[in-house]
């Protein structure tokens, strides 16, 4: 039986690790649109190398390959279509400026996500909306966490969770927690990939994801208890 806590391939979701196997990349790509240049047989590595050499058509192919995931990440983080479009645009412009510096130390998808995350976080900071900054969220905070779960054992979530209620609760999470929750539980990245994207330890990624889930549980239980009141 699959571990429910581990990111597994869900319908309509892409596992980031497909990049390591170009033969499955096309199958795994969600919502893939025809490559703009029509050079469908080129491997991801070849496309990347050409884009790094300044080939505009190859860059357009890279956009086509990754646009959906980057846009979805932006949209999930900011919850606003126009803003997500601007952030996607900025992320790919940054990619265009920096692509020659990619050395392959990590998967390209991880590197691109890291770049997009920085764009998103910069925007959140500009707006002053980072209720908890990523730095804070990835720092151990001994005053938070398990102790909050000790009380009220009678108030547990029962079975299925209302999707909209959970989406609302996720949207209200501090940005750092929201980011880790979205990257792991929604997008399906592994902790080692998240650690690489966010420049934190794997243990930190696990710990922050746990805190994010605890906060969601609290929020959902609070909603449930409000609904139960006459």
């Amino acid at each position: 039986m699959p571990n429910p806590f581990s990111p597994t391939q869900a319908p309509g979701r892409v596992r980031p690790s497909h990049e390591t196997d170009p033969s499955t990349a096309a199958k795994a790509r969600e919502g893939a649109t025809p490559a703009p240049s029509g050079q469908g047989n080129a491997s991801n590595g070849e496309i990347l190398a050409r884009a790094q050499a300044g080939d505009h058509q190859a860059f357009a192919q890279l956009y086509s390959l990754h646009k959906r995931r980057i846009y979805s990440l932006c949209l999930r983080m900011v919850g606003n279509v126009a803003e997500a479009e601007d952030l996607t645009q900025e992320a790919f412009l940054q990619l265009h400026r920096k692509i020659a510096t990619f050395r392959g130390d990590s998967a390209f998808s991880t590197w691109l996500h890291r770049l997009a995350i920085n764009v998103v976080l910069m925007q959140l900071r500009k707006k002053g909306l980072s209720l908890v900054s990523l730095d804070e969220a990835t720092e151990p905070t001994p005053d938070e966490g398990p102790s909050r779960s000790f009380g009220a054992p009678d108030l547990t979530l029962t079975g299925a969770i209302d999707r909209l209620a959970l989406e609302r609760a996720v949207a209200e999470l501090p940005a750092g927690y929201r980011l880790i929750f979205i990257l792991h539980d929604v997008e399906g990245f592994e902790h080692n990939e998240i650690a690489s994207m966010l420049d934190c330890s794997i243990g930190n990624s696990k710990s922050q994801l746990h805190k994010a889930r605890l906060k969601l549980r609290e929020a959902l239980r609070a909603q449930n208890s409000q609904e139960e009141q006459p």
């Binding site: 995931r69 846009y71 102790s147 969770i161 539980d185 794997i202 696990k206």
Partner: protein, 96 residues
């Protein structure tokens, strides 16, 4: 902290939870849960949340305009590069 996993307090068990859950191990078989309804309920809730997350925020394509804007911005940046601002001469030209 006791060395017997079955005799952990709730606080001790929950301190271990992030690593236990994050490692992919089956946390439901932990000895502490055999006797602790509260922690069982907690783990069950966290599992429900993780499972529900997979159905959240369906992924969507950006509209075509986003690529058009990107291309346009790239073009502008290239034009800017090919027409660099004229730097002032290092040595002033001789006066006529």
């Amino acid at each position: 902290m006791t060395g017997d996993p079955g005799k952990l307090s709730c606080a001790e068990f929950q301190m271990q939870l992030p690593e236990l859950v994050g490692s992919g191990a089956d946390a439901t078989t932990h000895p502490h849960l055999q006797s602790c309804e509260r922690c069982r309920a907690l783990l069950e809730d966290l599992k429900t949340i993780a499972e529900a997350a997979r159905q959240l925020f369906p992924s969507v394509e950006p509209p075509d305009e986003v690529w058009e804007h990107i291309e346009s911005a790239i073009r502008q940046e290239k034009e800017g590069d090919s027409n660099p601002p004229v730097a002032p001469p290092l040595i002033a030209p001789p006066r006529q």
